[in-house]
């Protein structure tokens, strides 16, 4: 087994809402290995985004610990981490090109190298012809592509993705799944991907962390055995996909049922 990049140990988080204490995550432990694609799924409010935010230092845990490459996560995100938000975080005042260049500019990469790498990223994302466009003129799918490329262009070893395709229509989503898998296939980052969409998780991930409803605990750690490379559309008709989907759905469904009763 590959080395452990992210180690999560007995992690918990309780939010204060006035006098009330609301437990969001409770006693969660799992490892993410090098170049592994892990998806976290669960009913809404199960704390899956909270876990991701804690890995990314956006929220401090109330209990337990997270180690990224052996170092305890502190107040600032570890430099090897990239993050793609669900919300549109493309800078509206920068063109597509200059958005993608951001991370390189921050790192003081030379102008000529920035130009070359941005050009390559634009090509990879199929955004040719839109280099000079401002985000306001782009569709939601294109903006999310810009956000994705902006994170990938600095080659983060670990990529955290918080429902990055949650706001997109099915068609755009499937295209982006294919693109993400192709990119991941060549760059082999370690990915933690949060989603409420089970089919998305199965399509993309090596392993799925299924959460219970609030307070979120781990219900099931599921290894996806679908072979790679995966065809995001054909995949859904395969018997293996349907079998795995049914297995996880059974576990998730219990959570939904308990909630309803």
């Amino acid at each position: 087994m590959a080395r452990v990049r992210i180690a999560i140990r007995d992690l918990s988080k309780t939010f204060r809402e006035g006098p009330r204490e609301v437990p969001a995550v409770s006693g969660v432990s799992f490892d993410v290995h090098d170049r592994e694609f892990v998806a976290i799924v669960g009913p809404s409010g199960c704390g899956k985004s909270t876990i991701l935010n804690m890995i990314g230092s956006l929220i401090a845990p109330t209990g337990g610990e997270i180690l990224v490459d052996g170092a305890r996560v502190g107040a600032r995100p570890a430099p090897q981490i990239g993050y793609v938000f669900q919300k549109d975080t493309v800078f509206p005042w920068r063109t597509v090109e200059r958005n993608i260049a951001l991370g390189l500019e921050y790192r003081g990469v030379s102008r000529s190298e920035v130009g070359a790498r941005v050009k390559e990223a634009v090509k990879l994302a199929g955004l040719e012809g839109f280099e000079e466009a401002f985000p306001a003129t782009l569709s939601g799918g294109m903006r999310q592509r810009v956000a994705l490329m902006r994170s990938l262009v600095v080659n983060p070893e670990i990529l955290l993705m918080d429902e990055p395709f949650g706001a997109l229509d099915t068609h755009t989503k499937l295209n982006l799944h294919a693109e993400l898998l192709a990119l991941w296939g060549t760059r082999q980052q370690t990915v933690v991907f949060v989603t409420h969409d089970l089919s998305e998780a199965i399509t993309l991930a090596d392993r799925i962390v299924v959460m219970t409803r609030r307070p979120g605990r781990i219900k099931l750690l599921y290894d996806v055995k679908l072979p790679r490379p995966r065809d995001v559309i054909g995949l859904r008709e395969s018997a293996e996909y349907l079998r795995e989907y049914a297995e996880i759905w059974h576990a998730l469904g219990q959570e939904f049922q308990e909630r309803a009763s």
């Binding site: 600032r76 993050y83 920068r94 991370g103 500019e105 921050y106």
Partner: protein, 271 residues
């Protein structure tokens, strides 16, 4: 230009022509000014377009000690200086207080107090301190513009999207880089939105300053007060028309700059 703008322009010019013609014609009829309640429709009070045009040509010439164009220049100059200084200091202060809760809390009561003071009440004090010249007018314009820009910038600096800051941090930005690439551009959008009202208010400040400032400060406000003293309605109308023209040109200029700087915003995208 939008389709049908030709007919819109015909209407506009038509209304203007009718208005001026009525003004010229009605002020020529003595009987109207004798009618109770309509006494003011008289060249003595509101002058007439033909008389205003004649005075305009005369005042523009070098036959007068202080030609009209020099007064206009003085007004424009003070307005632009007051505007520029007001915008830069307002922006700097808004950004500083907007990004620092502590400083904002300390200064809050002072700012509220100073801003609630009617600025016109300050004119005599400013005149006492800065004299009757250009500087007093600039200070007055500044004292108004500063607060408009300050409050807008302050709001803008407070409402910078935290997720944009987070994403910059994940891309490797340090605090200074976050300031330069996230906080400042995002705040500037709010600041720019305050530029058009600012230029109008700067002009108000300058004209009020000129009312008091007298001849050494010059300017169109001085011409208005002088005309009041000599009961010269035509000269006063000349000053008002020139002021109006200056106001329009400056507002349009600022609008152009705003569109250019905010071209990334959806509402400024070319359709």
């Amino acid at each position: 230009m939008k389709a049908g703008s030709g007919s819109v322009w015909i209407w506009r010019v038509g209304i203007l022509v009718v208005f001026l013609a009525a003004w010229e014609y009605l002020t020529g009829i003595k009987a109207i000014s004798k009618t109770p309640g309509l006494y003011w429709i008289d060249p003595f009070f509101i002058s007439r377009p033909s008389a205003i045009a004649r005075r305009f040509v005369y005042l523009m010439s070098d036959n007068v000690r202080l030609p009209l164009w020099r007064m206009a220049l003085s007004t424009v100059q003070s307005t632009l200086w007051g505007f520029i200084v007001g915008v830069t200091t307002g922006f700097a202060a808004g950004l500083l207080l907007g990004r620092s809760d502590r400083i904002a809390r300390i200064f809050d009561p002072f700012i509220v107090a100073f801003n609630s003071l009617p600025r016109i009440a300050l004119v005599p004090l400013i005149t006492m301190v800065f004299g009757f010249g250009l500087l007093a007018k600039i200070v007055l314009a500044w004292s108004i513009v500063f607060f408009i820009v300050f409050f807008n910038t302050f709001q803008g600096a407070r409402s910078v999207d935290a997720d944009l800051i987070h994403s910059a941090r994940f891309l490797g930005a340090g605090e200074r880089q976050i300031m330069r690439t996230v906080v400042v551009p995002s705040t500037l959008a709010w600041t720019f939105a305050s530029l058009t009202p600012s230029i109008s208010f700067a002009l108000i400040g300058v004209v009020v300053g000129e009312f008091i400032g007298g001849e050494s400060g010059g300017g169109l406000g001085y011409l208005i007060i002088q005309s009041l003293g000599t009961l010269n309605a035509a000269d006063m109308m000349v000053a008002l028309f020139v002021l109006g023209a200056i106001g329009i040109v400056m507002a349009l200029g600022i609008r152009q700059i705003e569109v250019r700087l905010l071209r990334w915003r959806p509402e400024y995208q070319k359709r």
